[in-house]
Structures are given as structure tokens and as C-alpha cells.
């Protein structure tokens, strides 16, 4: 079995990214939506790591930054979710449609 891991990883990355996207579309819970986004970021990280192997370590640096950014995003994002929970007593994104049209 001659598996090209790199290519397979790229495909996996695309798959995870797509799953994240689908999750964003299919879930109502803001936290899970956010988790899906995290999954997407991780999917990209996977791609970057694949590329770093053949193209240079910059990609890994980028992955590192992505993780930092993800942490920051998580902090702020969860704070936002807490804040909105205080207003709505819930995190169902479909209920947040005071602003529309």
C-alpha cells in the first residue's frame, strides 16, 4: 500500500475543513458553532504542516501563530457568548435575530 501521506493529509485537511463548515451550518449552539470554527482552523493547520514539510518551516511558524490567535479568539469568543447569554439566557444563535432586515 503506497499511501502518499502528504496528499492524504491535505485531503483530510480539506475534509475536516468541510466538516467544520457543515457544522457551522448545522448547529445552533453558539459554542459548538465556535468549536466548528476551531476545527476549521485546525484543518488549515494540518495543511500548513504538510506544506511545511516540503516548502519550509514558515508554515509551522504560521501554525504557531494560528494557535495563539485561536487562544485569543477563544477568550474573546467565549466572553462574547457569556455576555450574550446574560441577555438571552441561551446560546441558540437562531434566537439572536433582533437585528435583521
Amino acid at each position: 500500500m503506497n499511501l502518499d501521506i502528504e496528499l492524504a493529509s491535505l485531503i483530510l485537511s480539506a475534509f475536516l475543513f468541510a466538516v467544520g463548515t457543515a457544522g457551522v451550518l448545522v448547529r445552533r449552539n453558539a459554542i459548538i458553532v465556535f468549536m466548528c470554527v476551531e476545527l476549521m482552523l485546525n484543518a488549515v493547520n494540518l495543511s500548513l504542516i504538510v506544506f511545511s514539510r516540503s516548502l519550509g518551516l514558515e508554515a509551522q511558524v504560521l501554525v504557531f501563530f494560528v494557535m495563539a490567535v485561536a487562544a485569543a479568539e477563544a477568550a474573546v469568543g467565549l466572553a462574547i457568548i457569556i455576555a450574550i447569554f446574560r441577555h438571552y439566557e441561551g446560546v441558540d444563535v437562531d434566537r439572536f435575530n433582533l437585528l435583521r432586515w
Binding site: 465556535f34 476549521m40 495543511s47 490567535v69 466572553a79 462574547i80
Partner: protein, 526 residues
């Protein structure tokens, strides 16, 4: 002084304006923390002037950049006319945005150092977005800007709308970041570098042309930017976020984030990815088209001025995209000029909206503007100037800006875009004029309170803004010259680094990949 990045200090010099802003932010934050007794107490009034002073300092630092001579231009940070001009715009947005926001902060009892800190951090992000040439810096800068703005959007904790806006903006923003990042990854995967000066030469060398992955990367990168500048169909967050956010923040992000986004588009897409033009020109064309048509139509249906202005700001992104689509120095200059004008008028408009809306931002419906022109003549006049400028009506800067964009479109043969530009402007006349008619043609009922008198800072900002727009409309010569110079002054000046030149420019001649990794900033001294 010659800035050739021969020492790491040169990076400091090159980033001086950003550093000044960042330091100001930190100082504000620290002083505020120490000065304030209780967390719920408002900050001392000198925090505002301090921040303004810092920003003015940054402006000066930015101006100082103009005096530098920059021979080598393959650093992460571009020191070129475009960046300096963008910095001026962003700093202007920050200064005016802050001046406008003081009244709101005081009125709502939310005047805190954090607010100013967040604004300043966002500004740092914005400035870097227009100034960097490296995809990694781009990503971090865009996140710095975005996260600050997410927080600012949700800044008004008492407001349900504010929270909702923040959540939507955040979720959408994070989602879009994923695409942006994927785009960066794919671009990296196809050209092997995050430094776009190399990307450019790589593509030009032909190794990456016709690479579908590059296309996907460019497309996703563009999608990420399109989200930030709220181009249709990636604009859907905009009306909600703009409407829900505290109004001064709305103005700030409408002006600043958009400016930064366009700076990134211009630099990364049209300049650095110029060899891949075939990948993105169609996308931008359609984005421009849709972004002019859709929001202008949707704005017609709005009866809330703030939301209407939100749609209008999307529409302006469409006009700006015409300048981008023109893909010429003229187009870039036009975009730059229009951004400056747009910033002035958007900031002003949103500021007036919050003034009219009163405590708690409760009255921003069209009908709340009835009789405003007669009750507050100066405010009304200023708003008229802003609205006319938004509509692109002479003799305001908005008109000159649109004319500039039009000429760029015509010059590039983009007649369809040009005509769409004017026709959608026509549609926009209706909803801008509707505000004017509410302000002047209809009587205010007794029950409608007269908006309070704005404070000094606000008055100063509004008068300067309105006057500047009129001056830009009547005597735009200086602005045009600046824009034209800045629009042409984008590294790489000679478009592409010659084949073979790129490796030789690298000081450490170990192996190609390593040198790629380290060549982004010229080697610091060890």
C-alpha cells in the same frame, strides 16, 4: 536617513507609527488601571486627550517616514507611499473616531481606558494590514484588528443588540478567518513562501501559474478580505453588526476596518498577486458588481438610519472595488482617495446618528430625524454635507472620489462597472435624500426631543469633517496629487524581482528553503 533594514533597529524605524500607537495604547491602559479606583467608575477625562496626543504623535512619525530613503524593498514591512497614505487614513479615522466617540462614552457612562486601548490596538492592526507584505503578519494583524473590533462591538454591555452584534460579527469573523487562513495556506502551498515579494516572483517565474491550488488560495484569501470589506455576498454580517454596535464603534469600524481591508486587497491581491491577475480579476469584477447593486437596493427598504448607513457602507465597498477592479495605478489612487473621503463622511454620519439617537441609542429611525435641520441647523448642515458626500454629489469630496473611481474604470475600459457605479449611485440618492427630507421637509412632532448639543470634541470633529469634505470637493488638488503618488508608490516598484536575483539577495546562502524562511526580513545582526 536610509532605511535598508541593515539592522533590526530599522524595523523599529519602519514600524515607528505603529509602535507609537501601540505604546500609547499600553500607556493608556496602564495609567487607567492605576488611576481608576473602582472598575465601574469612568476613567479620568485626560485619557482621551492622551490617546489623541499619541495618535497625533503617530501621525508625525508617519510623516517622518516620508523622509526616509528606502532602497531595498523586500522586507515584511513595506515603507512606501501607499502604506504611509493608508496610515494617515487609519490614524485619521482613529483620531476622528475617538473625538466623535467621547460624547457617546460620556453620555452612556462608559468612558473607560479599555475602550481607547481597544481602539488603539485595532488601529495597530489596521495599520499593519496596509503595511505588511507577509502573509503571517497579515494574518496576525487582521486578527488583532478583528478581535479588538469584536470586543468594541460588544462594548455596550447593557445592550442586547450590542451583544448580539458582537456574537454575529465574531462568529462570522472567525468563520471567515478560517477561509482566509486556508487561502494563505494554499498560497503558501503553491508558492512556498509567505513573503509576497517572493510569491510574486515565484508566480512570475511560471512555477505556480495555472496552479489550481494557487487559484483556490487566491480565491479564499480574497474571500477573507471580501468579508472584512463586506463585499457581497460576504457582507451579511455587516448590517447587523453595524446596527448593533455602539454607534461610534460602527463609524470606526465602517471606516477603519474597511480602509484596512482595502489596503490589504490592493496590496496583496492587485500588487503582490498581480501575476495571478487572471485568477482574481473576474472575482473582483463580480464582487464589485454585486456589492454595488445589492446593498443599494436593500438600503431602500430601511427605515432605521443607522442600518441604512450600514447598507450604504457596504455599497461604498462596491464603489471602492471598482477602483480595485480597474487594476491600474489610477484605480489604486482612486481607491485610496475614496477611502479617505469615505472615512470622513462615514464617521461623521454615524456620529450624528448617535447624537440624534439620544441616551441608550433609542432613536435612530428615519422619523426621529424629522425637523432636525431646523432644530439644530449646524448639525443638520453637517449631516447634509455628509449625506451628499456619501451620495457622491458635488461639491463634496464624495463626488471627486466617485469621479476618480469613474475615470479609473473608464481608463481600464470597465464601462459596465462605470455605468453600474453611476446607476447604483442614483438608487442611493433616494435613501440619502430621504434622510434630508425627513430633516427638513417634515415637521418634528412635539414629542420628539431635540438632540442635545454636541460637545466640543464632537463639534470640532464634525466641522472639520464637513469642511474637509467640502474642501475635498472644491479644491481636491492636493489630495489628488497625494493619492496619485501614493497609488503609484507601491513596492515592488519594478513589479517583479528578476529571476535569480531573489536568491542572491539572501545573505545566508545555506539552503533554499531556509533562506526562504529567513529572507522575509533581512537578516538581523547577530
Amino acid at each position: 536617513m536610509i532605511l535598508d533594514f541593515s539592522s533590526s533597529l530599522h524595523i523599529v524605524w519602519a514600524l515607528l507609527p505603529e509602535i507609537v500607537v501601540a505604546v500609547t495604547g499600553l500607556v493608556v491602559l496602564m495609567l487607567d488601571v492605576f488611576q481608576r479606583g473602582s472598575r465601574s467608575a469612568p476613567s479620568a477625562p485626560w485619557v482621551g486627550p492622551l490617546a489623541i496626543t499619541g495618535l497625533v504623535g503617530a501621525v508625525l512619525a508617519n510623516a517622518w517616514l516620508l523622509t526616509l530613503e528606502v532602497p531595498a524593498q523586500n522586507a515584511q514591512i513595506a515603507v512606501d507611499g501607499f502604506r504611509i497614505a493608508m496610515n494617515f487614513i487609519v490614524l485619521g479615522v482613529a483620531i476622528f473616531g475617538l473625538l466623535y466617540s467621547f460624547d457617546w462614552l460620556n453620555r452612556e457612562g462608559q468612558f473607560t481606558g479599555e475602550f481607547i486601548f481597544l481602539v488603539l490596538m485595532a488601529v495597530v492592526g489596521m495599520m499593519l494590514l496596509g503595511g505588511t507584505r507577509d502573509l503571517i503578519v497579515l494574518f496576525v494583524a487582521i486578527e488583532l484588528m478583528s478581535i479588538s473590533v469584536y470586543v468594541l462591538t460588544g462594548y455596550d454591555r447593557r445592550s442586547r443588540r450590542s451583544a448580539e452584534a458582537a456574537l454575529k460579527y465574531f462568529l462570522m469573523g472567525a468563520f471567515a478567518s478560517g477561509f482566509l487562513l486556508y487561502g494563505i495556506a494554499l498560497i503558501f502551498g503553491s508558492v512556498g513562501s509567505t513573503n509576497l515579494s517572493l510569491v510574486t516572483s515565484e508566480i512570475a517565474l511560471g512555477t505556480a501559474s495555472n496552479n489550481p491550488m494557487l487559484f483556490a488560495g487566491v480565491a479564499l484569501l480574497l474571500v477573507g478580505f471580501a468579508f472584512k470589506v463586506s463585499a457581497v455576498p460576504f457582507h451579511m454580517w455587516t448590517p447587523d453588526a453595524y446596527e448593533g454596535a455602539p454607534t461610534p464603534v460602527t463609524g470606526f469600524m465602517a471606516a477603519g476596518v474597511k480602509a484596512a481591508g482595502f489596503a490589504a486587497i490592493v496590496r496583496f491581491i492587485t500588487i503582490e498577486l498581480a501575476p495571478a491577475a487572471e485568477f482574481w480579476e473576474g472575482i473582483i469584477w463580480w464582487l464589485a458588481m454585486l456589492t454595488m447593486i445589492v446593498p443599494n437596493l436593500a438600503a431602500l427598504a430601511q427605515d432605521d438610519v443607522k442600518r441604512m448607513l450600514a447598507y450604504s457602507s457596504i455599497a461604498h465597498a462596491g464603489y471602492l472595488l471598482v477602483g480595485v477592479a480597474a487594476d491600474s495605478p489610477l484605480g489604486r489612487s482612486a481607491t485610496l482617495f475614496y477611502l479617505a473621503v469615505y472615512a470622513a463622511m462615514t464617521l461623521g454620519s454615524f456620529a450624528i446618528v448617535y447624537l440624534v439617537a439620544g441616551k441608550g441609542d433609542v432613536r435612530s429611525k428615519l422619523s426621529d430625524f424629522r425637523g432636525l435641520g431646523w432644530r439644530r441647523p449646524l448639525l443638520g448642515a453637517a449631516f447634509v454635507v455628509f449625506l451628499l458626500s456619501l451620495a457622491g454629489f458635488p461639491p463634496t469630496g464624495g463626488f471627486i472620489g466617485k469621479l476618480y473611481l469613474l475615470s479609473a474604470a473608464v481608463e481600464s475600459g470597465e464601462s459596465v462597472l462605470a455605468i453600474t457605479l453611476v446607476l447604483t449611485s442614483l438608487i442611493s440618492y433616494y435613501y440619502y435624500l430621504r434622510v434630508i427630507w425627513k430633516m427638513y421637509f417634515e415637521e418634528a412632532p412635539e414629542s420628539l426631543p431635540t438632540p442635545e448639543r454636541p460637545g466640543l470634541a464632537f463639534g470640532f470633529a464634525a466641522s472639520i469633517g464637513a469642511l474637509a469634505l467640502l474642501v475635498a470637493g472644491l479644491f481636491p488638488g492636493h489630495g489628488l496629487r497625494t493619492a496619485s503618488r501614493a497609488g503609484e508608490d507601491l513596492v515592488p516598484r519594478a513589479a517583479v524581482v528578476a529571476p535569480g536575483a531573489a536568491p542572491s539577495a539572501r545573505p545566508s546562502g545555506q539552503d533554499p528553503a531556509a533562506s526562504r524562511a529567513s529572507s522575509n526580513v533581512s537578516e538581523p545582526e547577530r
